[in-house]
């Protein structure tokens, strides 16, 4: 059995990804691509090639997506990828915060 892999490259949206307003339409696009995945497939979110990513951008793009779909679906359908240790740290902290909030309000 083979699993389809689709890629969502953030760098195509610009070098610096700074604000929630910038992130919101990208999240909508990411959600559309995620929802269109066939069963068992996942989407690779590639963060390489971007310059500055703010916590607010990461939170609006990925944190809010996690709140929308729940941590289990988020982890099952998305694979995050970056070679930048700082971006990895940032995204992990943002998502851990939202995952804790989702659990606290009963949306695991």
């Amino acid at each position: 059995m083979t699993t389809s892999v689709h890629e969502f490259r953030l760098a195509r949206f610009g070098q610096d990804l700074l604000t929630r307003d910038r992130a919101a339409p990208i999240r909508a696009e990411l959600r559309r691509e995620m929802d269109a995945l066939e069963s068992g497939a996942h989407l690779v979110v590639d963060m390489d090639g971007v310059g500055a990513v703010t916590p607010s951008f990461a939170d609006e793009l990925l944190g809010r997506l996690l709140l929308e779909v729940g941590e289990a679906v988020f982890r099952a359908r998305l694979r995050l990828r970056t070679s930048d240790a700082t971006v990895r740290l940032l995204v992990n902290r943002v998502l851990a915060q939202r995952a804790a909030e989702a659990r606290a309000v009963g949306r695991p």
Partner: protein
């Protein structure tokens, strides 16, 4: 197994056992389930409570609040208007709670703590208003981040006139901080401003900075007359493109090749988070301006955001973050709360899935202080300045004439490197965080 709650309560009520300290009793109480234990202890507080209870229980509750966040919530809840503390005991409990130490209830920051300078009230400097002519005499100092209180005094004295003469004849230099504040004040009150006494250089600066257009309510046409060293004053309104505003400031750095790599990203994140924060909190009728200036000789960059919105305190009190609202109502400084990590007036709740996260002002202040710069936030009658001197973090609070809104100004030293990774490491981990990796 510890002693049952009844035994501990008996100690509290026993006049002869005054040697049992609040610390000892709180250690025992912390081992018990919070809710029933809290109900029992709070139940001792009544208008008819014996004097021993009145003396001991507030200290005990304050100690518990200092040692455990859940107890901190219990005590704060008891102290609110609809809380369980009888009116006659509210004052002693509030006093004990207020003196419990700075760690209680706050989100634990991993950054080195600030040493707080004594609060002070400052007098106006060299700005004065001639009542007879509605004239404000500007000075270099009063337009700077350090002299802001003088400008606020002059504006407060001016009240709400229809017309004011701004006299720049004693002004050698003008800083963008003062101009943003003046523009926000004039536009929010619809004050007509007549500029007088300008040298040729000052006149050019007022034009290029967008100040003249700003006070006259005209769009400035950013970038056309910009000398590449400043971002002209740009209005902040609902729906403003924070991305574009932040990018303009970033271009100052990039065009001059001032910083690169991770240090560039740290400064970019600082600007963007600050502007985003203000833009998102600006109410529908808010008038505000953002401006930035690069100083090549000193290798510094200054950014200011001044708005005439509801201000920090009102934002917290009217917000839906109950925890923060209670802390403000109990007397905690809204400005100090605003720069704590993950503090927001609009958190995620079951009813509000799209809350904010509370990164903005914390990150902007943290990056600035780690950079060796100066971060100043002003709202209502207070300003909080955060900086570092001789390796120590300092926080200074100043009271001054009221500003109806919020001003955030910062100065960054472009020669100093900031590790954004260290800043992220300083964010407090969420409950239950165990180094979760969403990349695996």
């Amino acid at each position: 197994m510890g002693r049952p709650i009844e035994d501990i309560v008996r100690d509290l009520l026993d006049e002869r056992r005054d040697h049992v300290s609040a610390d000892v009793l709180s250690t025992e109480l912390l081992a018990l389930p919070v809710r029933p234990t809290a109900a029992r202890i709070l139940g001792l507080l009544s208008d008819q409570a014996p004097s021993v209870v009145r003396e001991r229980v507030p200290a005990l509750l304050a100690t518990l609040a200092r040692r455990d966040e859940r107890w901190d919530r219990v005590v704060r809840s008891a102290l609110t208007r609809r809380g369980r503390c009888p009116a006659s005991l509210r004052a002693p409990l509030k006093a004990a709670y207020g003196a419990r130490g700075s760690s209680a209830g706050g989100t634990p920051a991993r950054s080195e703590p600030y040493e707080h300078d004594e609060a002070s009230t400052v007098e106006p400097l060299r700005v004065d208003r001639r009542l007879s002519t509605n004239r404000i005499r500007m000075s270099t100092e009063a337009s700077s981040i350090d002299g802001l209180h003088a400008l606020l005094r002059a504006l407060a004295d001016a009240g709400s006139p229809r017309r004011v003469q701004l006299d720049f004849s004693e002004c050698e230099h003008v800083y963008v901080v003062g101009l943003a504040v003046l523009a926000a004040w004039a536009r929010s009150r619809e004050v007509a401003i007549e500029v007088t006494g300008c040298s040729a250089a000052t006149d050019a600066y007022l034009q290029e900075s967008g100040f003249i257009d700003a006070i006259e309510g005209r769009p400035h046409g950013i970038g056309t007359r910009d000398a590449g060293r400043r971002v002209a004053l740009e209005p902040i309104v609902t729906g403003v493109d924070a991305e574009e505003l932040a990018s303009r400031i970033v271009r100052i750095l990039d065009d001059h090749g001032l910083v690169a790599g991770s240090n560039r990203n740290a400064l970019v994140i600082c600007f963007a988070e600050l502007i985003e924060n203000v833009a998102r909190h600006a109410g529908p009728n808010t008038v505000g301006f953002v401006g930035a200036q690069y100083y090549p000789a000193k290798q510094k960059v200054s950014i200011v955001v001044a708005d005439s919105g509801v201000g920090i305190r009102r934002s917290f009190v009217d917000g839906r973050n109950r925890d923060i609202r209670e802390r403000v109502e109990l007397g905690e400084d809204p400005l100090r709360l605003a720069v704590l990590p993950l503090v927001t007036s609009k958190p995620v709740t079951p009813e509000h899935a799209t809350g904010h996260a509370g990164y903005g002002l914390y990150l902007a202040s943290e990056i600035t202080v780690r950079n060796g710069g100066t971060f100043r936030i002003t709202s209502d009658e207070r300003s909080l300045t955060l900086y570092r001197r001789q390796g120590r973090r300092r926080a200074a609070v100043v009271t001054h004439a009221r500003w109806h809104g919020t001003i955030v100004a910062l100065i960054l030293d472009l020669q100093n490197v900031v590790s954004i990774r260290d800043v992220y490491e300083s964010l407090p981990p969420p409950a239950g965080y165990a180094g979760d990796d969403f990349f695996s």
